[in-house]
Amino acid sequence: MKATLDLRRVGLGLLAPVLAILVAFVVTSTVLLLAGDPVVEVWTQLLTVPRPRLVVAIINGASVYYLSAIAVAIGFRMNLFNIGVDGQYRIAAFAAAVFAGQGWLPGPLNIFVSLLIAVVVGAAWAGIAGWLKVTRGVSEVISTIMLNAIATGLVSFLLFRVADSTAGSNVTNTKTIPASSQVPGFALVPGTPNKIYGFILLAALVGVAYWVILNKTRFGYDLRATGRSETAAVASGVNVKRMVLTAMVLSGAAAGLVGMPLLFGQDYSYGTTFQPGLGFAGIAIALLGRNHPVGIAFGALLWSYLDQQSNGLQITVGVSSELVYIIQGVIVLAVVIAYEVVRRAGLRMEQRRVARQLSEEPGSPTPEGATV
């Protein structure tokens, strides 16, 4: 019974993203046709097998996206829209970079304490929004958007104060992290000297922790119950205010880690060129991956794949690489609709099946469970 149910559920779960990707394919092709661009060449470029160097870049990009999407998903699971992951990861990465760059502590200990700082700063920044929601009823959507703007300003301001600027360059950076505290990568892909971030393990660890906490603990049950029905959660004894605050803080803590693979595995400092916009991509990927740790992994890989494959568009077929934003945007829009359609269809199917199985039971009365 359970096995067949799960198969059906997995099938339904896969149907939605596949549909969404198909819709994105059709819409993007239409845009290309209308603009008079070479449709076939564009898809050929996007769908070629990536070179080893790009494979590494795709995996690295995905690991960062993954952390961001998990941070967003924690909020989503209880109907909190944490749009502030973007601000949270930047301010956390900045704080960690400033500390790590000082090199006060020896190698691994420096890394560990820096991670801790990133987590605490991210959590605190998100905690502001949580606290405002709990005490003053401020929508977390509004407050996190505002906090993003404040984080941008604050980081630029502080970066200028602590900057370790090189003469003759207008790039402003924090102090470079000592070599002993840089996290080495793994040379897993043959054919390229580029390495996969060591902190891909951190992303995997966060994914596992997310799954365990949500699905295996009482806290996770309460959190999911609150997301499914706040009123029922209250009646069951969940302290919803405390839950909102805790979920925001956890989401912010995960957001604090987003910049870490970049900081310790690639840039070794925080500067004006530090990768922006990861938080917003995280929202899209969490939606695409349906807040499931495995789904999010696939979503992150797809996002990163599209990013990297689009780089060649301008050179090889003369189409702007921004085309990928259209694809990504349509995927997100379509996936939201597709999930709802599939959810309703799934519910109808289940009601029908329950009604059928009950009416097959000998002697039982006609079920009225499936009436409209």
């Binding site: 019974m1 699905n215 009482r218 806290f219 119950a225 969940v238 029908r352 079920p367 009225e368 499936a370």
Partner: protein, 528 residues
């Protein structure tokens, strides 16, 4: 012979997995009140939606005045002179009666004086006592219903369908409605009246069609049938009854509330100085018109609202400041009024629902971890013991019928060694079979020495199950009524405040619920 006003022949309607109507055949004579009775889920509403053009039948024909009709939408039905008054009123509170009535029918008589004159004319002709310029927000339930009827008449209906019109009314208002229906009938209109309350049907209908499991089983003459016979036609077997046997009340108080007050947003307290005691083995019934504080009383007991003053004792522990979770862990079972909003996670599997509210208790948890194996075993046991019909514990709560959902909730609340059971409208919206089972469980709880607080709008249920009945009105509890001697009429009078000697209070209450004095006087007299 004159063609019947409405004639249904062989109506069949299938929904995925279930046949809602099967070969339904009956006819309604002009100028009569024709009742359609059947238990919840028997297919009455589906049938009426077909007659009103909301749903289309898979098979069968509908004739009005001998003419075959193809009803594709409610506007086809309205054109054919069929009007429907839904159970849930569809009125805009912030508009006047006139504005509500003309809304969507502006073409008939405009939106100004012509429409106003037409409304006053209809109101006078049929004794509806509705005034065009009153704001709907100021009107009581009884008048709102008459506005709905007027809306339908204004659109030219000759055949009125009333879906469970008495469900929202207190006994006195029901009498007024029936007077209105007789008036409509005498003016040559045809009324189709849907109900599952048999006494009402017997008192007002000229003809009764019984529906069971989606099909018509008989059309009977109310003069030649008793309510018991009718009920057995409806259920197809022996009737369950709500009565309890010998008293099991002890002198050990389990739930004692003293001076409980909950301040409201306005001047009046939502709950004012509530004092009650429930002993082990006792069922205390609370009657009241919805919105008089019963929901707030339950939420205060369950720790979902912080009382302004007063104490709540569970056995000898003061639980007034406790959090909901502590109260539940201490042994207070809770059957909420709105099971979809407060008692179920509709998208979650059944085994996650059978632990809801008890997620910290054995066998559902081990320390900070959820014990999924324990919770699933517990779910299997609860579902079997409480006869919840489901293929497995992995389907979502959404896929169960209302009765099965409610049995799950009651089973769950009875399964974690409760001492007190707070049950708000436990049989609302469930079929007769589930209702009987739920009554059995409440009786069992009483036998096992629980203190039960039963809040219900079904006065027969209250009278049948309770050891003591109190009425809640404007946040205050009445004195005790003895269920052995009290009648539904007595309770109805207390529920509207019509039994109170102080004329000022009566006027104040009626003023908010009914702006018209006329018909109410009649009801008040009957109540006393």
């Amino acid at each position: 012979m004159v063609a019947p006003a409405v004639e249904l022949q062989g109506i069949t309607k299938r929904f995925p997995g279930v046949v809602a109507n099967k070969d339904v055949t009956f006819s309604v004579q002009r100028g009569t009140v024709h009742a359609i009775v059947g238990e919840n889920g028997a297919g009455k509403s589906t049938l009426m939606k077909i007659l009103y053009g909301v749903l289309r039948a898979d098979e069968g024909t509908v004739k009005v005045d001998g003419q075959l009709l193809a009803l594709h939408s409610p506007s086809d039905a309205i054109d054919a002179g069929i009007g429907m008054v839904f159970q849930h009123f569809m009125l805009a509170d912030n508009l006047t009666v006139l504005e509500n009535v003309v809304l969507g029918a502006e073409k008939r008589h405009g939106i100004g004086d012509r429409a106003r004159a037409e409304i006053e004319r209809i109101s006078a002709d049929y004794g509806l006592n509705v005034h065009a310029d009153h704001l709907v927000a100021d009107l009581g339930v009884g008048i709102r219903q008459r506005v709905e009827i007027l809306k339908v008449l204004y659109r030219g209906a000759k055949i009125l369908i009333l879906d469970e019109p008495t469900a929202v009314l207190v006994p006195q208002e029901v009498d007024e409605l029936f007077d209105n229906l007789r008036e409509l009938k005498s003016e040559g209109l045809t009324v189709i009246f849907i109900s599952h309350k048999l006494d009402e049907v017997l008192s007002v209908a000229d003809s009764i069609t019984v529906i069971r499991r989606g099909t018509t089983v008989a059309t009977v003459d109310p003069k030649s049938v008793t309510s018991r016979q009718l009920a057995e036609l409806m259920v197809g077997s022996e009737l369950p009854s709500a009565s309890t046997d010998v008293s099991t009340v002890t002198d050990r108080p389990l739930l004692a509330i003293t001076g409980l007050t909950l301040a409201g947003a306005g001047v009046r307290d939502v709950l004012h100085d509530i004092t009650l005691t429930i002993h082990a083995g006792e069922v205390l019934g609370v009657a009241g018109v919805e919105g008089n504080g019963q929901a707030e009383l339950v939420e205060a007991i369950m720790g979902m609202r912080e009382p302004t003053a007063g104490r709540i004792l569970l056995a000898d522990q003061d639980i007034s400041d406790w959090h909901t979770r502590e109260i539940r862990e201490a042994g207070v079972g809770y059957i909420p009024e709105d099971r979809h909003r407060h008692a179920l996670l509709l998208d979650a599997p059944l085994w996650e629902n059978t632990m809801l509210g008890h997620q910290t208790q054995s066998p559902n948890a081990k320390g900070v971890w959820v014990d999924a194996a324990g919770a699933k075993a517990g779910a299997e046991r609860i579902l079997a013991e409480y006869d919840v019909r489901t293929p497995s514990i992995y389907v979502t709560a959404n896929s169960l019928s209302g009765g099965n959902q409610q049995k799950l909730i009651i089973g769950r609340e009875m399964s974690y060694t409760p001492r007190v059971l707070v049950a708000a409208h436990p049989t609302r919206g469930v079929d007769v079979g589930a209702q009987a089972a739920i009554w059995d469980h409440i009786r069992r709880a009483r036998r096992e020495g629980l203190a039960v607080l039963l809040i219900s709008a079904d006065l027969d249920e209250l009278i049948g199950l309770s050891d003591t009945i109190r009425v809640i009105l404007r946040g205050q509890l009445s004195d005790e009524f003895d269920p052995d001697v009290v009648t539904a009429q007595d309770l109805g009078a207390a529920m509207t405040g019509a039994d109170q000697r102080d004329p000022g209070t009566v006027a104040d209450d009626l003023g908010t619920r009914h702006t018209e004095a006329g018909p109410e006087t009649h009801g008040v007299e009957e109540g006393q």
